[in-house]
């Protein structure tokens, strides 16, 4: 059922990147989605390179600048209960804890969560859609209730990650390593919008893997939260969500980051909503104003206009949690 593939489990990053440089190689992190994709023919693999035997990819450490570095192979469950995350980056714990189900969080990794493939039911189903090399997006004229209201172009999927919008809001960066060496990419520039290239979701070059997530220190007075709305209580991707990071100074917002999930093919930052807050205290009125600003420019499809209400609700509720 699954076409035959080779499997290696190297113990060093160098060996892993060397193996991943081969054409047709695929990285295996938590493995919660890889076999399903292979079985469903979403993509193929000649060789699966497991990253699970590389100790330095797992765990969390303090950075010299006061921030935190998380190994990409750290599980979502570990991220969600890590004291340093709960204390300094609460929204990331929220995001990790709201993903998937307990079983999947015990196995799924932070890096894998960022690099997961679209969950669009056409992309995952027996539809030869544009992202798979076909000539159209079936969602555009089809069953698009779970699709995007921002940033769609040729393809209208929504990025499924709950941690990506949070990391974007924290101005986090990703350490990426390939055979040629390492580089650092801000999370905000890691994801590729379909208007740029609808055949890929990230800037990862063939053979590259995310090795670390680098969280910068946050200024004093910073608080954060992630509000996720979904169709059922667990094991469900966001219908829409809001990652909010605010820094208050004298009771007024000095700096705000609001990044939406579940509504765009990439984590969707809404600067208009951020601007609505800066210089203001967080009150019912300013939260509402930011919520209204957050949906400016939304272009719903036939079946997903409800997401406008949900975005407003998520932003408003997230902000009021921080008031």
């Amino acid at each position: 059922m699954i076409p035959a593939f080779g499997y290696v489990r190297p113990s060093t990053l160098a060996e892993a990147t060397a193996a991943l440089a081969a054409p047709g190689a695929r990285a295996h992190a938590g493995g919660t989605d890889l076999l399903g994709c292979l079985r469903d023919g979403v993509f193929t693999a000649d060789k699966v390179v497991s990253l699970s035997g590389i100790p330095e990819l797992r765990g969390l450490r303090k950075n010299l600048d006061g921030g935190v570095i998380i190994g990409a192979m750290t599980t979502l469950a570990e991220v969600a209960r890590e004291p340093a995350i709960l204390a300094g980056y609460a929204a990331l714990a929220d995001g990790a804890l709201s993903a998937a189900s307990p079983q999947l969080r015990n196995q799924g990794t932070l890096g894998g969560n960022l690099c997961q493939r679209p969950r669009c039911w056409y992309y995952r189903g027996d539809f030869h859609c544009a992202r798979k090399g076909g000539d159209k997006c079936y969602a555009a004229e089809g069953e698009n209730q779970f699709h995007c209201i921002f940033g769609g172009d040729v393809c209208f999927y929504v990025h499924p990650s709950d941690t990506a919008p949070v990391l974007t809001a924290f101005d986090a960066a990703l350490r990426i390593t390939g055979k040629q060496g390492s580089r650092s990419v801000p999370v905000a520039q890691f994801f590729v919008a379909p208007a740029v290239d609808y055949t890929r979701e990230t800037v990862l070059a063939p053979g590259e893997v995310v090795t670390e997530v680098v969280l910068p220190p946050q200024p004093a007075g910073t608080r954060s939260t992630y509000r996720k709305l979904r169709a059922r209580g667990s094991w469900d991707f966001a219908l829409s969500g809001a990652a909010v990071v605010t820094t208050l100074d004298g009771g007024r917002v000095r700096r705000a980051r609001i990044v939406l999930s579940g509504v765009a093919p990439v984590p969707w930052r809404v600067p208009a909503a951020e601007r609505a807050l800066v210089g203001q205290p967080i009150t019912a009125a300013t939260a509402r104003a930011a919520a209204v600003a957050a949906v400016q420019g939304a272009e719903p499809l036939a079946e997903n206009g409800y997401k406008i209400e949900l975005v407003r609700g998520a932003v408003e509720e997230a902000l009021l949690r921080l008031a």
Partner: protein
């Protein structure tokens, strides 16, 4: 009045003998009614139980089915040469295989071929393969090259009746003449009403998705075929398979001792049985053919979606004056009861002299429906029970009081035949009291964005009384242990446990000394499929009859040895005791007569139900929800189910049924819906992630069962009525009513997802509603 067609009856039923005499009702019981755990709980939880999907036979092959990917297509050619050459492949069958040239009947007159050239839904079977491993079989199925002429399709039941719609069947898209029902004068009823309300409600199609997949293992031994099947009824499977293969019933043995859920989708045989049997014959090896989870969403049934226009009239004092309902539904591409029983609650739940209903069943290019836990009833309750709520609000009456004003003592839709018992009024009053209904209704409303509300709904189930046939054979061994032999399946509801309790009640045999042999056409007696909430009321009286037959013989044996008339003896624990002189007693295992005979065999049968009366269970459910008005998120806080199902046989299995029924009803009310792609007519959410059954996070921990524990001694000798379906009938409607109570917004279409509710709430805010 014609009795409604019951879905668990497939063809003629055998008659079984009427029991000799009728035993006295139990009155007080010592075993029955206690909260006892499943007698097979250890086997089920430890993995020791061998479900059909666990069966592994020597030399067994694995089968897979090639399915049509198009909503409507004609098979032009099937080329299986490449598939047949793949490693491990031992047999490939197509429409051109002589042994597979079989008929598959949807009704006594509507049939297709097993592999029919015309595929009327995505997921229809086109060919099948058998190979050494499941993976090889799936690969081979993919390698079968099928060329199709793709035909126009329609997957929307409303569009199916529009001019120019694709024709699903040659005769048009109407399954038949609309089903009409009328009593009284509806126009006069509306004229006499103080308030008349009208609304259109709809429920989405649901998929059963039982834990154990659908499938079988087929094995030939000369002319004899044995099938291990995950089924609710081994005899219906035997009948269908024998008829399709032209075999004597005696040569088809179907075994289904354990099974992992069915909810109505496993009441019958399936095409996979024929495919497995033919593959096994051609390969001369046993074949295991279980379909995949994805297949199970498209080809083994669904709950038909219904659109229900309902008009209702009520007087200020709460008297219902008229009900008028039109229903549009679809059972898919073949006749499959697309509107079946959708109007039953409107016809029969409440006193109403003037009722008219009309139901139109249409074909679409979708998988055929199958019975789904209370066919038609949760759909009908979604409409009627929301309407009752709206009527109560319109006349300023409590919803419970409005229902209490309209309690029928007879089945109005069955010519006024009385119910043997109706606890509907007690379900309403005792349920409301236990829930704290009036207090909850009076509680102060929150000014914040998160609103609390309470809702309730009631229901009855059209069947649930059970009836003949059933034959039970009970053996009491020399050591006092017993073997209970019954044909019925235990589909996870606790049937085996309850039947062992019946034996224990009559004979004093401890539960751990009762072994049960069940659901095997080769070794157990005829039983109808376990469905229709009828297994307990059907089988318990027959088991009791068998136990009494054993008891009579046992006491006769003891009478000789204890020199005491049998009438003066009774069983007390593991002893026979004289009622007159407690010193006269002997252990059953020490009775010489029993030792000599080795075994006492008792045969029991199910007697007829009372003439001219109707046996139905009744229910009322109450719930509290929390609605986030900014996001449309609904959280069910607590649920209570008050049920009149006659005598409570086992309090623990009873509570489990309540929890399961409410969980399933939460799915209908809040999360579940089949979604067809309008461009291709194929289902886009045919998996357990995109098709959203409730998780533990969606079901409240606070679920309370309030049994109206009154034996219905007129119904049968166990005093029990069915429970499995009534517990899910009012659930979704109760949630909808609670959402209305919380927000003032009425959600007419299921499910009440944030995507549906949030825009309605926003519109209500615009309109200035609360």
């Amino acid at each position: 009045m014609k009795t409604p067609e019951l879905y668990y009856v497939d063809g003629a039923l055998p008659e079984t003998a009427v029991p000799e005499g009728t035993p006295r009702p139990w009155g007080r019981t010592t075993v029955i009614g206690r909260p006892l755990p499943r007698i097979d709980g250890y086997e089920r939880l430890s993995g020791a139980a061998v479900y059909p999907s666990d069966v592994v036979l020597p030399e067994m092959l694995y089968g897979a089915i090639v399915r049509c990917p198009h909503a409507h297509a004609r098979v032009r050619s099937v080329d299986s040469a490449a598939a047949a050459r793949l490693p491990g492949v031992r047999a490939v069958i197509t429409g051109a295989t002589p042994a597979a040239d079989l008929r598959w009947y949807y009704t006594p007159t509507v049939f297709t071929k097993l592999f029919d050239p015309e595929c009327r839904f995505a997921g229809e079977a086109v060919a099948a393969v058998a190979a050494e491993t499941p993976q090889q079989a799936w690969d081979a199925a993919r390698a079968v090259a099928v060329e199709y002429d793709v035909l126009p399709f329609v997957v929307d039941e409303h569009k199916a009746l529009e001019p120019g719609a694709a024709a699903v069947q040659a005769g048009g898209n109407r399954v038949g003449e609309p089903v009409r029902y009328a009593r009284g004068d509806v126009a006069a009823g509306f004229a006499a009403a103080d308030k008349v309300l009208e609304a259109t409600y709809s429920t989405a199609a649901e998929i059963h998705t039982p834990m154990e997949l659908h499938g079988c293992v087929a094995s030939w031994d000369g002319p004899r075929l044995t099938i291990w099947e995950s089924t609710q009824g081994v005899y219906p499977v035997q009948q269908r398979v024998a008829a399709a293969l032209g075999m004597p019933l005696a040569n088809v043995r179907v075994i289904g001792r354990y099974m992992g859920g069915g909810f109505g989708s496993k009441l019958q045989a399936d095409k996979y049985d024929l495919a497995a049997a033919v593959l096994a014959k051609l390969a001369a090896r046993p074949v295991k053919l279980f379909i995949t989870r994805e297949e199970s969403f498209v080809c083994v049934g669904n709950r038909p979606p219904m659109t229900m226009r309902l008009k209702a009239g009520v007087k200020k004092d709460g008297t219902l004056t008229a009900l008028e309902m039109t229903v549009l539904g679809t059972g898919g591409a073949y006749p499959a009861g697309g509107t079946s029983l959708g109007d039953w609650l409107v016809r029969d739940l409440y006193l109403c002299p003037n009722v008219r209903t009309e139901m139109t069943d249409v074909f679409i290019n979708g998988g055929p429906a199958r019975a789904f836990r209370a066919p038609g009833h949760p759909q009908g309750a979604w409409a009627l029970e929301q309407m009752m709520d709206a009527l109560a609000a319109a006349i300023g009456m409590d919803p419970v009081e409005l229902r209490l004003k309209n309690i029928p003592k007879v089945s109005q839709a069955r010519g006024g035949q009385p119910y043997t018992s109706t606890g509907l009024d007690r379900c309403l009053t005792e349920g409301a009291a236990a829930f704290g209904w009036s207090q909850a209704r009076r509680r102060a409303r929150s000014d914040g964005p998160v609103k609390r509300g309470v809702g309730m709904a009631a229901g009855l189930w059209v069947a649930g009384g059970g009836g003949p046939p059933s034959t039970i054979v009970l053996k009491l061994f020399a050591d006092g242990s017993a073997n209970l032999n019954m044909g019925a399946s235990d589909l996870g509801t606790g049937t085996k446990t309850v039947m062992a309790m019946v034996v224990s009640e009559e004979l004093g045999v401890p539960l751990d000394r009762i072994e049960i042999e069940n659901a095997d056409t080769g070794t157990t007696q005829y039983a109808t499929a376990s469905g229709g909430s009828k297994t307990v009321p059907t089988e318990s009286p027959a088991v009791r009859d068998a136990a009494l037959a054993v008891k009579r013989q046992l006491l006769a044996v003891a009478s000789d040895e204890l020199k005491t008339p049998a009438e003066a003896l009774r069983i007390e624990g593991d002893e026979v005791v004289s009622s007159a002189d407690p010193a006269v007693r002997r252990k059953i295992a020490r009775l010489e007569g029993l030792q000599r005979r080795g075994v006492i065999v008792g045969v029991g049968t199910r007697g007829p139900n009372p003439e001219g009366k109707v046996v139905n269970p009744f229910a009322a459910q109450f719930c509290e929800v929390e609605v986030d008005t900014r996001t449309g998120a609904v959280r069910v806080v607590r649920f209570l189910s008050a049920n009149d199902s006659g005598r409570v046989m086992d309090h623990l299995t009873y509570e489990s049924q309540v929890i399961g029924g409410i969980t399933m009803g939460i799915g209908l009310g809040l999360t579940e819906q089949r979604v067809f792609d309008r461009q291709t007519g194929t289902m886009v959410n045919a998996n357990w992630h995109d098709y959203k059954i409730p998780t533990a996070m969606d079901v409240p921990a606070d679920i309370v069962a309030v049994p109206i524990d009154t034996p219905d001694d007129e119904a049968n000798t166990a005093g029990a009525k069915g429970l499995g379906e009534p517990v899910t009938i009012p659930t979704a409607a109760a949630i909808a009513n609670a959402v209305y109570d919380a927000t003032g917004v009425r959600v007419l279409d299921s499910p009440i997802s944030p995507m549906r509710l949030a825009p309605l709430l926003a519109a209500a805010r615009q309109g200035g509603a609360r």
